[in-house]
Amino acid sequence: MKTILQMQKVCLTYHTQKNETTAIKDLNIEGYEGELLGIVGPSGCGKTTILSLLSGILTPSQGEVLIEGERANTHSGLTGYMLQKDELLAWRTIMSNVLLGLEIKKRKTPQKVEYAQQLLKKYNLYEFKDFYPNQLSGGMKQRVALIRTLVLEPKLLLLDEPFSALDFQTRLNVVEDVYSILRSEGKSAVFVTHDISEAISLCDRVIILTNRPSTVKEVVDLSPLKDYTPLQRRELPMFSEYFDKIWSNLQTTKEKSNEIPAT
């Protein structure tokens, strides 16, 4: 499999007036093309930091972050970031929200607009293209946010707990939708979450992080689940085995962290 992302011995330290915090230390991660890579870890372990590094918003203090062999930067257009909440702009219609990224990157051509329309049609949002965000449900808005990211045709999608703002029932459905969208578009993605069952239901491989400063604790291969959709996966007996495995791993990181109080 072709490698799409590499993080080699990455360290990142945040500086504030009062102190400095090492968020991640000696982190090595590889991601492959077409793979949905999950990252789970205790809260505050620097999961969002990893995505910021991959998108190029942050530059590592040490080490290298490579996307398709190129150093990560915000202008490459290789990555597409999807945030926790939909962050749709209230004064723009759905269509114009979808086109926001293209406008910013000055790539709003008739072909791209056409592509945006196709995506909206494909995911049953076309009839709402002239609506405003507040007229749509939370799940629909999250799908619009995903399309806003997809329109830019990124090679690698970065998903930062994109379902955490949704209620449970909507969440299950949106995970299902997002899964099928990602698969049908053949995208690679890095999916950050603290929700173990969500990670298992969506990903091909899950990386478990330690407490801050975080590094890789364990990698769990979920390829046996590859042919099942998120909802189907939840029905499988294997699901709870994976859950236990990841959970116990997270537990041991927590116990350890209790011995050494975080600064």
Partner: protein, 278 residues
């Protein structure tokens, strides 16, 4: 007063219970409008009667009929148009300058963080200063004519505009800024596509405050230096003890200030609808 929009075919759209509810609401709002008008009429009537029967001294309290006569006289002499025109022009000019300049300065302070941190205490202090204290300085520097009046109005309204607008700019959601960052937006794009549009309600609120501020500034300026305008009429009327003139001018001022506020409120309604802001 808001009436249900689909009044014509009520029975087709709403249940009987809802229609009763709407009718009751409508009745209530009619009563309120009538009470508002009634309050004014009763006040004027009482004022007139008390003056007529010499319960109050109409020399120092004037009366509605004397004000009406004064008004007619002012209109006939062509003086009213002149004074109203001058005051209105001063107010509108300072309103536009304060709004434009204030927003522009707020944009600059948003853009350059270090400049903002340097200037912040100065703006806060200037905002807290009672501007009337600047009167003598303004007269000496700007002369005793319209520039001085507009400067006074600006002194009063500009700093409030800057502070309000800037605090709106700075309170744009962090996560929205993050979105712009992930899309690779430049600072200019962040300003034009996120910060300004999301702050339009704020800016309009600032306009509403500015209407009041500019009226205060203009009248205060006219008290200080002017030879014409409603503020001048009021001060002059006071000096020569023509209370009819004072009261009439004040009433006209009420109407003008109210009218201007109403225009801004209309603008707000229009823009909110256009931009889909609640």
């Amino acid at each position: 007063m808001k009436y249900p929009q689909r009044k014509k075919n009520l029975s087709q759209t709403y249940s009987a219970e809802h229609i009763t509810y709407l009718k009751r609401q409508r009745k209530k709002s009619i009563v309120i409008t009538l009470s508002r008008v009634g309050l004014l009429l009763i006040f004027l009537l009482l004022w007139e009667l008390l003056a007529r029967f010499n319960v109050i001294d109409s020399f120092i309290s004037s009366s509605p009929s004397r004000m009406a006569a004064c008004f007619v006289e002012l209109v006939k002499g062509g003086e009213l148009a002149k004074h109203v025109g001058i005051t209105l022009w001063e107010t509108v000019a300072s309103f536009f300058i304060a709004t434009t300049l204030g927003t522009l300065i707020a944009v600059l302070l948003w853009w350059f963080e270090s400049v903002r941190r340097v200037l912040e205490p100065y703006i806060v202090i200037l905002n807290a200063l009672p501007k009337i204290a600047l009167g003598p300085i303004i007269i000496i520097w700007m002369g005793t004519d319209q520039p001085a009046i507009i400067t006074m109005a600006l002194a009063i309204s500009l700093f409030v505009t800057i502070l309000n607008t800037l605090s709106g700019f700075l309170s744009v959601e962090k996560s929205k800024l993050m979105l712009m960052q992930t899309l690779g937006a430049s600072k200019w794009q962040t300003l034009t596509k996120l910060v300004l549009p999301s702050n339009i309600p704020n800016i309009i609120d600032a306009l509403k405050i500015n209407v009041g501020m500019c009226w205060v500034g203009t009248i205060m300026g006219e008290y200080l230096v002017s030879h014409a305008g409603l503020g001048y009429l009021i001060i002059y009327g006071g000096q020569v003890f023509k209370l009819d003139l004072v009261m009439t001018s004040t009433l006209i001022l009420c109407c003008l200030a109210g009218g201007m506020y109403y225009l801004v409120a209309l603008l707000q309604k229009f823009v909110s609808k256009k931009l889909n802001i609640e």
